[in-house]
C-alpha cells in the first residue's frame, strides 16, 4: 500500500515539474528561492538549491539542459527514479521491502499418477527420480515409437519427453488427454512451438531446468514486484570446465558447445528479461584443451534493457559440482540496485546463492532463509509445478524469442553485425 502511495506521489511530482518547467524561468526561480529560504530558516544548507538558483540566473545553456532532462527524458525512467528515491532515500516514507520467501518443497505425494519418460538425458533421469520420490509410477520409453506399441499408454497422465512429437504420436497422446512436458533440447525452431501449442488442450510446458531452480524462481518474483525499479542490464556468465563434478570431463564438440550447455542460457535471459530484439556477437573457437568463449550483446524489447551472455570453456578451472562442472552467475541491474545469482548447478563458491543490494540495504538469501539450492530441488519443483499448476503454457513468447536468438547468434557472429530478431 505504501508503495502505491509513493507511486502516486511520483506521478504527481513529475506532472507538477513538467508544468513548472514549461513555464518561463522566473516562476521556477521564484519557487526555488522560496524553498531555499525555507531551508535556511531551519538552518539547513542545501547546496544543490543554491547552485540551481545560480545556474538559472546566469547560465541559459545549463538551464535548458536541466529543463530538457525532465521535459524530454523518458517518462518511465523519471518515474522509476523518483519512485525509488522516495522509497530508499526518504526515511519517513520508507516502506518495508518485501523479499519473497523461498518456496518450501511440497511434501505431498501423487500415487495415482503415471508418468511416461521418453528419452535418456540427464534431466529426464533426474525427473524420473523426482516423480518416483513423489510416489508416481514411471514408465520408461527409449524411443518415441515405443509409445505407439505400449498398451499402458492409456494409463499415462504425464509424458516427459526429450524428443519432439511426430504427428502420429502427438495424435495418440492428445486422444489420451495426456499432459505433455517437452524438454527444451527437442525444440529446434520457433515454428515447432507455434504449431503445436494451440493444439494441446491439456497442460503443456517446455521444460528447462532453470525455470524451476528455486533461486531463479525467487529472482523472477522479485523482478515482477519491481524491486529494482526499471531493469536495465542482465548479465549471464556461464563457465564450463574439464574438472569438478562426477560427469567431468565431458567431451566438448566445438559447434555443440555453443548450443549446449553454453547457449542454453538464452532461455534464462528471456525468462528473466523478456524478448530479445537485436543481437551482436563474437564467437570464439572452443577447444577441449585450450578452452574458448563467446560474448553476446543483446537489445531486449523492453525499452532501455540490455543483456550480456558470456560463455567460457575454461579447461583447467576446477568447478566444484555434484553433477556437471557448469558455473553460473547472473547480475541484474536496475534503477534501485542489483540482484546477483551466485550459483547454478555447480557450487564454485559457498557464497549465498542470491544477494541483493537495493537503496541502502543488502539482502542475502541462502541456507539461513531455508532456500533450497541443491540441484535435485529443480526436479522436485518441476514435478510439483506441473502437477499442481492448472495451466502450464508458460513463457511461450519468451521461449520462442530465445530460440530465435539462438538461431540468430551464429549469423551475428559470422557477419559481425547487429542482427534484428
Amino acid at each position: 500500500m505504501k508503495i502505491k502511495i509513493i507511486e502516486i506521489i511520483s506521478f504527481l511530482i513529475i506532472g507538477v515539474l513538467k508544468v513548472i518547467l514549461s513555464l518561463p524561468n522566473g516562476i521556477f526561480l521564484f519557487l526555488l528561492k522560496i524553498i531555499n529560504t525555507g531551508a535556511k530558516t531551519i538552518n539547513k544548507q542545501v547546496p544543490i538549491l543554491t547552485e540551481l538558483i545560480e545556474i538559472i540566473q546566469t547560465d541559459k545553456g545549463a538551464t535548458n539542459t536541466l529543463r530538457n532532462i525532465v521535459l524530454q527524458g523518458n517518462y518511465s525512467q523519471l518515474f522509476y527514479f523518483l519512485r525509488g528515491a522516495l522509497i530508499h532515500q526518504v526515511e519517513f516514507l520508507s516502506p518495508q521491502i518485501k523479499i519473497p520467501l523461498p518456496h518450501q518443497p511440497k511434501k505431498v505425494k501423487y500415487p495415482n499418477l503415471t508418468v511416461g519418460i521418453c528419452g535418456d538425458n540427464f534431466d529426464l533421469q533426474m525427473l524420473s527420480s523426482a516423480y518416483q520420490q513423489k510416489g508416481c509410477k514411471v514408465i520408461s520409453y527409449e524411443k518415441m515409437e515405443d509409445i505407439l506399441k505400449d498398451n499402458n499408454i492409456s494409463k499415462v497422465n504425464i509424458l516427459e519427453t526429450a524428443y519432439f512429437l511426430p504427428e502420429n504420436i502427438l495424435e495418440k497422446i492428445l486422444s489420451q488427454k495426456i499432459s505433455i512436458s517437452l524438454h527444451f533440447s527437442s525444440i529446434k525452431s520457433p515454428d515447432m512451438v507455434e504449431e503445436i501449442a494451440p493444439r494441446i488442450k491439456t497442460p503443456f510446458r517446455i521444460f528447462y531446468p532453470y525455470f524451476y531452480y528455486p533461486p531463479v524462481q525467487i529472482i523472477k518474483e522479485m523482478l515482477k514486484s519491481n524491486i529494482l525499479g526499471e531493469v536495465y542490464t542482465i548479465r549471464i556468465r556461464a563457465t564450463a570446465s574439464n574438472h569438478g563434478g562426477k560427469f567431468a570431463p565431458q567431451k566438448i564438440e566445438e559447434d555443440a558447445f555453443l548450443s549446449h550447455p553454453a547457449f542454453d542460457h538464452y532461455l534464462l535471459l528471456t525468462f528473466l528479461g523478456g524478448k530479445v530484439e537485436k543481437v551482436a556477437a563474437y564467437l570464439g573457437k572452443i577447444d577441449q584443451e585450450k578452452g574458448g568463449q563467446a560474448v553476446i550483446s543483446c537489445k531486449l524489447s523492453t525499452p532501455l534493457r540490455y543483456g550480456l551472455l558470456e560463455y567460457s570453456f575454461a579447461p583447467d578451472m576446477y568447478i566444484y559440482s555434484q553433477y556437471f562442472p557448469y558455473d553460473l552467475e547472473i547480475e541484474i541491474a536496475g534503477t534501485d540496485g542489483i540482484i546477483w545469482l551466485n550459483q547454478g548447478m555447480a557450487n564454485r563458491t559457498c557464497e549465498a546463492p542470491i544477494q541483493v543490494r537495493i537503496g541502502k540495504r543488502h539482502y542475502s538469501l541462502g541456507i539461513e532463509s531455508f532456500l533450497q539450492t541443491g540441484w535435485e530441488s529443480v526436479y522436485s519443483q518441476a514435478v510439483d509445478d506441473f502437477i499442481l499448476a492448472p495451466k502450464n503454457k508458460i513463457n511461450f513468447p519468451e521461449i520462442i524469442s530465445a530460440i530465435k536468438l539462438k538461431q540468430a547468434l551464429y549469423k551475428a557472429g559470422e557477419i559481425s553485425k547487429v542482427i534484428d530478431i
Partner: protein
C-alpha cells in the same frame, strides 16, 4: 596547474609530502575558483594567464586539467616552451588534436603524458601481476561493469560538473563511454592488450547521458573477448568520497578467475580482489582501496619518471589509441556494425556522429 576544477583536489593531495615535486602555481580563468583553491591549498602563486605558467622558469611540469577540447592549445604551447606536460584524460576530442600533441612532444625537450589513474589503482596493479604470473591461465573473457548512482557520496559534486559532461553527448561523445569510460577502456588495454574490433549498443537516459550500454570487443592476436556493461543504478547507495560509481571487473581464464570489486565507489563489503583457482578463493584484503591512492601513484609517477630518465606507461600514443577505442564503440553502436579502432579517423567521427 592550468585548470583548478572539481577533480583537482585529488591532484593537490598527491603532491602533499612528496619529496620529488611540489605544486607551485595555479592558473584558472575563473577567478572565484582560483581564489578558492588558493585559500584551500595555501598556494599564493596564482594567475589567470596561462602564459605565466608556461613561461615560468621555475616550473618543470605543467599540468593541464582543463575541459577536453582545450587540452591541445595548452599542451602544445607548453611542450613548445620545453616543459614537461601532463594532461587529464581523455587526451582530446579529435584524433588530429591528439596527433598534434604527440608530434609536439617529439619536437620538445619535455615529456608528455595523459593521466589515467585506474592503471595505478592497487588492486588493478595486483590483478595485472597475477595475470602476468599466469595465475589464471590464458584470459578468455574480461568484463567491465559501471553502475552509475546519485547517492552514497560524502561530498557535493557541483551540478555544473555533471551538466558539462552531459552536454558532451550532444557533440558525439558522452559521459559514460567517452569520458568516464576512458578509465575502463584504458584498463581493458592495460590488463589484456590491444583491441581489434568492437560492437554493441549505447542508449540514452534522461536525454543526455549515454547509458545503459552493452559493448563487446575482440582483442588483437589472441583468443580473448571483452565486454563493458553500463547501467544507471541511480538509487543504489554507492559509498564513495569521490564519485558514486560501482566499478567491477571479472576476468575468466583457462584455469581460474579474478574478481575486482570496486574502485571509485563500493557497494559491498568484500575483498577488493578475489582470485579463484584450484577450487579455492584467495581474498586479497590488504590492498589500499582509497581511490586517492591511484591518483597519488599516478601523479607521482610522472616526475619520478622524468628524474629517473624512464618512459611512463601513459604516453600520448596510448591515449590516442584509447580515444579511437572509445569512438569506435560509439560509432559501432550508432551504425550497428563492427568497427575497428585502428580505422577510426576524424573524417569518420565527423561523418557518423556530428
Amino acid at each position: 596547474m592550468i585548470g583548478c576544477g572539481d577533480i583537482t583536489f585529488l591532484h593537490y593531495n598527491a603532491y602533499q609530502d612528496f619529496e620529488y615535486a611540489e605544486l607551485y602555481k595555479l592558473c584558472d580563468v575563473n577567478e572565484e575558483q582560483l581564489k578558492k583553491r588558493s585559500q584551500e591549498w595555501g598556494i599564493k602563486n596564482i594567475t589567470t594567464d596561462y602564459k605565466e605558467v608556461i613561461f615560468d622558469k621555475e616550473i618543470d611540469i605543467v599540468e593541464v586539467n582543463t575541459p577536453h577540447h582545450l587540452h591541445k592549445k595548452f599542451v602544445v604551447e607548453a611542450l613548445d616552451a620545453g616543459k614537461n606536460v601532463a594532461c587529464q584524460k581523455p587526451i582530446s576530442t579529435t584524433i588530429e588534436e591528439a596527433e598534434a600533441m604527440i608530434c609536439a612532444e617529439k619536437k620538445s625537450a619535455g615529456k608528455f603524458r595523459v593521466l589515467e589513474n585506474f592503471v595505478f589503482y592497487p588492486s588493478y596493479r595486483k590483478a595485472k601481476e597475477l595475470i602476468d604470473a599466469n595465475e589464471i591461465g590464458e584470459i578468455l573473457t574480461i568484463r567491465f561493469k559501471l553502475g552509475s548512482s546519485l547517492f552514497g557520496i560524502s561530498r557535493y559534486i557541483p551540478l555544473k560538473t555533471n551538466l558539462w559532461h552531459m552536454m558532451e553527448s550532444e557533440k558525439g561523445m558522452g559521459w559514460a563511454v567517452f569520458d568516464d569510460g576512458y578509465h575502463k577502456l584504458s584498463l581493458a588495454i592495460y590488463l589484456v592488450g590491444e583491441i581489434e574490433k568492437v560492437q554493441g549498443f549505447i542508449d540514452r537516459s534522461f536525454r543526455y547521458t549515454d547509458l545503459p550500454a552493452q559493448l563487446i570487443w575482440k582483442y588483437k592476436g589472441r583468443n580473448t573477448l571483452g565486454s563493458f556493461d553500463i547501467a544507471p543504478q541511480l538509487n543504489l547507495h554507492t559509498s564513495s568520497k569521490y564519485f558514486p560509481a560501482d566499478e567491477r571487473v571479472d576476468i575468466v581464464g583457462t584455469k581460474g578467475m579474478i574478481k575486482l570489486n570496486g574502485c571509485t565507489g563500493k557497494i559491498r563489503d568484500t575483498a577488493p580482489l578475489i582470485l579463484y583457482k584450484e577450487g579455492k578463493r584467495y581474498l586479497f584484503e590488504n590492498l589500499d582501496t582509497d581511490w586517492q591512492a591511484s591518483f597519488t601513484a599516478g601523479i607521482r609517477d610522472f616526475p619520478q619518471a622524468i628524474l629517473e630518465g624512464r618512459e611512463t606507461l601513459l604516453s600520448g600514443e596510448r591515449a590516442r589509441d584509447i580515444l579511437k577505442f572509445a569512438y569506435a564503440l560509439i560509432i559501432s553502436a550508432k551504425k550497428g556494425v563492427e568497427i575497428k579502432p585502428d580505422d577510426v579517423s576524424d573524417e569518420m567521427i565527423k561523418k557518423e556522429l556530428l
